[in-house]
Amino acid sequence: MSKAIRDVYGSVLAELAENNNDIVVLDADLSGSTKSGIFGKAFPERFFNMGIAESNMVATAAGLSTTGKIPFVNTFTVFLTTLGLISTRAQICYGNLNVKLAGAYCGMSDAFDGATHHATEDIAVMRSLPNMTVIVPSDAASTRWATKYAVEKVGPMYLRLSRDVYPDLYPENTAFECGKGAIVREGKDLTVIACGLLVHKAIEAAEVMEEKGVSVRVVDMYSIKPIDKELILRCAEETGAIVTAEEHNIFGGLGGAVAEVLAYGGAGVPTEFVGIQDTFTESAPYKDLLKKYGVDANGVLAGIEKVLARKK
């Protein structure tokens, strides 16, 4: 089975709101795309369409949170994390307010709309804000958990969501934990630490390598902040090489977060970073973009080959 991440998020949010009157939802004229409209139809009195005004939307959510509400703020990832950033920083994070930011079209998942609509720096931006929690779901079950967790956990949270369809990775009742990563495929020769779509690409790459006699471990680092330091250092020690993989600039995102842990832990193992190579992207079918910008299974394989060459 596979499901579009935005569909899962939208329906789970509406489902949770049936038993929680404090959940309120804001969107900036994209509720049909972000799927916050599912909530909007079910609970019109708690749904605020703010028009195309992201700064106003995020700051309004900051105010709502001080009255006991749990605002979920929705728009395309790139607009949320740029136009919404001043309020996110100065009000929500500085004030440690209970606001949930859901970035709907992460990475290049709004493929045809091109570079202006792709979000390739959002993890770097969001994880550098004190008090912010950063979660990147990788399938329907983890999206369900992340949405539920956002309601339960008090404080600022950023959910990096995709427009795309991801195959199921976890059983429905999997126990996820903020601050933890999950080993989704065992291996001993190296570890690919990935998030979101790239977890699936890493598994594909690991299957190819298995035929070549190389055993690749794959970690789904769905919690980017806080990050599972213990697991990263254990993987470095047990497999001796790390590849990070993300649909994001190679600077400042998951790769940066993992590198910080490795450096701090004195792990000193060969490390490669799979991601968008500090460049702007373009309009095209999603599959073609993933291929050209090196964030598909072949991109992960290239990273694996490089790290293996360094490991020897």
Binding site: G51, A53, T66, G68, S87
Partner: protein
């Protein structure tokens, strides 16, 4: 019912005292914003000391009125009002802008009595709008006040909120523009002409009230008229003077964010009847 003459006199005397204490604090740390603190003095003092339903004993009361000082650089005047209401210790002003102090250069909600961080201009009206939406959903009768600078209205997000608050019919929201006609680099006419502010808000669907922002009676009537308007949000365009109360600061952009030298403080204290 209008305020009694005695109460007006008391409030005016509080304003005089607050001006003295704010200038002393800004002088002491040699940093801060005297001009905009003085222009907003009567507005904040009337709200905090007379109109708003707030109490330090019940600081978390869900039905308390809320105020967002969107022009966060006037923080010293906010702090002095919060001291008077018992949210902060009496000697707090001496900590303004100093290390490990509760009194940040711009307001933080970690300071008792402060509802929302502010400082980066333009965001406070949106945040106040969110509070008004939330309180209405909660069935609360509490009112929300957003205090804006006039220079602040250069920020585009102010007009995003100006457009949205009437859509949601937020009659529990009152914005106040401290219309002192001076910003950091010069007069508002020189830096970014505001044109007819009243007509601009009116065109967006606000109930617009204009008054003398240093006249307690006029402000009292303006807030009363905002409260009785039940269709949507009201904005009070309060005609003020930057640096009000200190002759050499009045109307001068130079005193927007300038440290006060000893001699000037002495002159100011003399004019306000304080001790240097």
């Amino acid at each position: 019912m209008p305020l009694s003459q005695e109460r007006v006199a008391e409030l005016n005397d509080l304003c005089r005292m607050f001006r003295i204490d704010v200038l002393k604090a800004v002088h002491s740390i040699q940093s801060g914003h005297p001009g905009g603190s003085l222009s907003v003095c009567e507005i904040l003092t009337l709200l905090y000391q007379e109109l708003m339903n707030i109490s330090a004993d019940k600081a978390d009361d869900p039905n308390r009125d809320r105020l967002v000082l969107s022009k966060g650089h006037a923080a010293p005047m906010l702090y002095r009002n919060l001291i008077e209401k018992g949210f902060l210790p009496a000697d707090s002003m001496s900590g303004l802008r100093r290390i490990d102090s509760l009194l940040q250069g711009h307001p933080s909600n970690h300071t008792p009595g402060v509802e929302m961080p502010s400082g980066p201009l333009g965001l406070g009206l949106s945040a106040a709008q969110g509070m008004a939406m939330g309180l209405r959903l909660n069935g609360s009768k509490a009112r929300v006040y957003a205090i804006l600078g006039d220079g602040e209205t250069n920020e585009g997000v102010v007009w995003e909120a100006a457009m949205s608050a009437p859509k949601f019919g937020l009659s529990n929201l009152t914005a106040v523009v401290d219309y002192n006609k001076v910003q950091l680099d010069g007069t508002t006419d020189e830096i970014m002409p505001l044109g007819d502010l009243a007509s601009k808000f009116s065109a967006f669907g606000w109930n617009v009230i204009t008054c003398d922002g240093h006249d307690i009676n006029a402000l009292y009537d303006a807030f009363g008229s905002a409260k009785s308007y039940t269709v949507g949000p009201s904005v009070i365009i309060a005609d003020t003077i930057k640096g009000k109360g200190v002759s050499f600061m009045e109307g001068k952009a130079a005193w927007h964010g300038k440290a006060i030298p000893d001699a000037e403080l002495a002159t100011a204290m003399k004019e306000l009847g304080g001790e240097a």
